[in-house]
């Protein structure tokens, strides 16, 4: 079935690096993993990096004079440097390790937000955001009375920019996704950032779905802050990143208080440490950051251009296959052109509820997500309670897409007899 397109990634070879993809089964079927937008699988080099650390080197960071402590600290700080290079950040000091990108947003809202926003100040978001880029601002609105404005979604699943200047007028921050985790849409971050800066607003980018899938350069994107999360990019759970321009981070008050983030503590006050440590209170996710560093090395070796090319091809194949095989029975929520979108494909199918589709797919070993994808406002815009979502990554190939289509056939059979 699968047509052969020229492809820079040898997926068959690459899959061997992913134990779960080659070894695990579900209901006796090989696993067809199409839920990487929720969380990706992890290759052996990432698992090995963490295992090695714990077996040969481990000690707490920034604390020990002894060699294990020094080596672990070096590995941890090297991961920070890798993360900086991976997103084109000018220096490692702008990289703050958090526990996930959700914490990156909360750090920004608590620290920068509470220091810079007061009643009536405007933050511009969009209606296609993940809850991670909504709830922290809603909390701040409840607490401080800031005003939230929303870029809305156009008919073609892109952001409607016609009212951009109006929305940005007087705004202090624009915080938007670089890739929707529901639609796959890639908003024009550079254009948005330039418009925001022109009105004096700062720009935060939710790159949770972007950094894992596209070459990223914060200077080219033109943003001031950017967040991403380790577990969606071949890394372990428990680690995320907030990158910020250093002078902005420098000026921000601490978020969480405790060990590591201080220079001095007295019973009547404390002096914070320099960035990035100022924002890393307590023992950080050491093994997790080092695992993320290994994931970054893995992705770098393959090349993010190759990843993007592969995913565009495969997304094209998936969209084509679904449309060819299911015609009007399937509704795909997202842009048509693969150059305008990433590989997350949300759909409605034959009036079946996503939960039910996913249950049948599960029986056939196919993992897709069914739900609101932590984007309830967007679900309301789309007029659905939930969607089914298949999402692609570098280790997927056309056979995975074919398996999805075959399993969708079965669910139609099962429910619609």
């Amino acid at each position: 079935m699968a047509m052969t397109v020229p492809d820079s990634i040898d997926v068959t070879a690459l899959k061997r690096d992913f134990p779960l993809l080659t070894g695990a089964t579900m209901h006796g079927q090989p696993v067809v993993y199409l839920d990487s937008a929720s969380s990706s699988q992890k290759p052996t080099p990432v698992l090995d990096a963490m295992q090695d650390l714990y077996e040969t080197t481990y000690a707490n960071v920034h604390r020990g004079v002894y060699e294990l402590g020094a080596k672990t600290t070096d590995l941890y700080e090297a991961a920070r440097a890798s993360a900086a290079r991976f997103i084109g950040a000018p220096s490692p000091s702008g990289i703050v390790f958090t526990k996930n990108v959700t914490e990156s947003f909360n750090l920004l809202a608590y620290s920068w937000g509470r220091a810079n926003l007061s009643e009536g100040d405007v933050v511009v978001l969009s209606t296609i955001e993940h809850h991670a880029n909504l709830v922290p601002w809603l909390m701040l609105r409840d607490e401080r009375g800031i005003e939230l404005r929303y870029l809305t979604m156009a008919e073609d699943f892109t952001l409607d920019l016609s009212r951009l200047d109006e929305l940005l007028d007087g705004a202090k921050l624009l915080s938007v996704t670089a890739m929707s985790n529901v639609l796959g849409t890639l908003p024009p971050v550079r254009q948005l950032a330039d418009a925001a800066h022109a009105t004096g607003a700062l720009v935060m980018v939710d790159a949770a779905q972007y950094v894992p899938h596209l070459p990223t350069d914060v200077t080219e994107l033109g943003c001031d802050f950017l967040g991403f999360t380790g577990h969606k990019m071949l890394g372990p759970t428990g680690v995320g990143v907030l990158w910020g321009r250093e002078e902005l981070l420098d000026a921000m008050p601490p978020f969480q208080g405790g060990g590591e983030m201080i220079r001095d503590v007295r019973l009547d006050g404390f002096t914070p440490n320099d960035v990035p440590w100022k924002f890393e209170a307590g023992t950080p996710p050491i093994a997790e950051a080092i695992g993320l560093g290994a994931a970054i090395d893995y992705l770098t070796t393959i090349g993010m251009d190759a990843v993007r090319t592969h995913e565009m091809q495969l997304t094209g194949y998936a969209l084509q296959t679904l449309r060819d095989r299911f015609g009007d029975s399937i509704t795909i929520f997202g842009p048509d052109d693969v150059t305008d979108r990433g590989g997350v494909i949300s759909f409605a199918f034959d009036g079946l509820h996503p939960h039910d589709i996913s249950q049948v797919l599960d029986q056939h070993g196919v993992c897709v997500r069914a739900g609101h994808h932590c984007a309830k406002p967007l679900m309301r815009v789309l007029g659905v309670g939930a969607t089914a979502r298949a999402s692609l990554y570098l280790y997927n190939d056309e056979s995975d897409v074919d398996a999805l289509a075959d399993a969708l056939d079965k669910s139609a059979e099962f429910f619609l007899v």
Partner: protein, 161 residues
């Protein structure tokens, strides 16, 4: 390994395809209550009208959900209409007991089960028995109980006003 037939019994699919008591009721006299399944986005809106003598006179359902949550709601509506609030409470307890066998063994927490479940009333579940297979699919238990938890909340609210 439980198969799909354990989950999707014929009667469930029937209630899903032909849901009973869909719609809305005027508020008041009816009481309106909403329920969410935060994991999947399912929403249910119940309209329930209780007589002065404590009988569920009428019940209507709107909202959206999967086959399990929709059919569970539909079966529930048929089961509770015309019953007294006390009877509905017993039925709810019996239903939750059926659904929680697995859930509590899953949690392996070694703590006492929900007080509610200590004495399961001896109630015939009738058609609702068809949902027993859901316990083999723990993720879906919340789908099956959504309507019941929402109803319990609604009845509590009407009692307190």
């Amino acid at each position: 390994m439980p198969g799909l037939e354990d989950l999707y019994r014929e009667i469930i699919l029937d209630h899903y395809r032909n849901p009973r008591n869909r719609g809305e009721l005027a508020v008041p006299p009816a009481h309106r209550v909403e329920g969410f399944n935060p994991l999947c986005g399912d929403e249910i809106v119940l309209f329930v009208e209780v007589d002065d003598d404590g009988t569920v006179r009428d019940i209507k359902i709107s909202g959206q959900g999967c086959s399990i949550s929709q059919s569970s709601a539909s079966m529930m509506s048929s089961a509770v209409k015309g019953r007294t609030v006390d009877e509905v409470r017993d039925l709810t307890r019996a239903f939750k007991a059926m659904m929680s066998i697995h859930e509590s063994s899953l949690e392996k927490d070694g703590t006492e089960p929900d007080d509610d479940l200590n004495e399961v009333p001896d109630v015939k579940l009738g058609d609702l028995e068809a949902l027993r297979g859901v316990v083999k699919f723990p993720v879906r238990i919340k789908c099956a109980t959504l309507a019941w938890i929402t109803l319990a909340q609604g009845l509590e609210e009407t009692a307190s006003t």
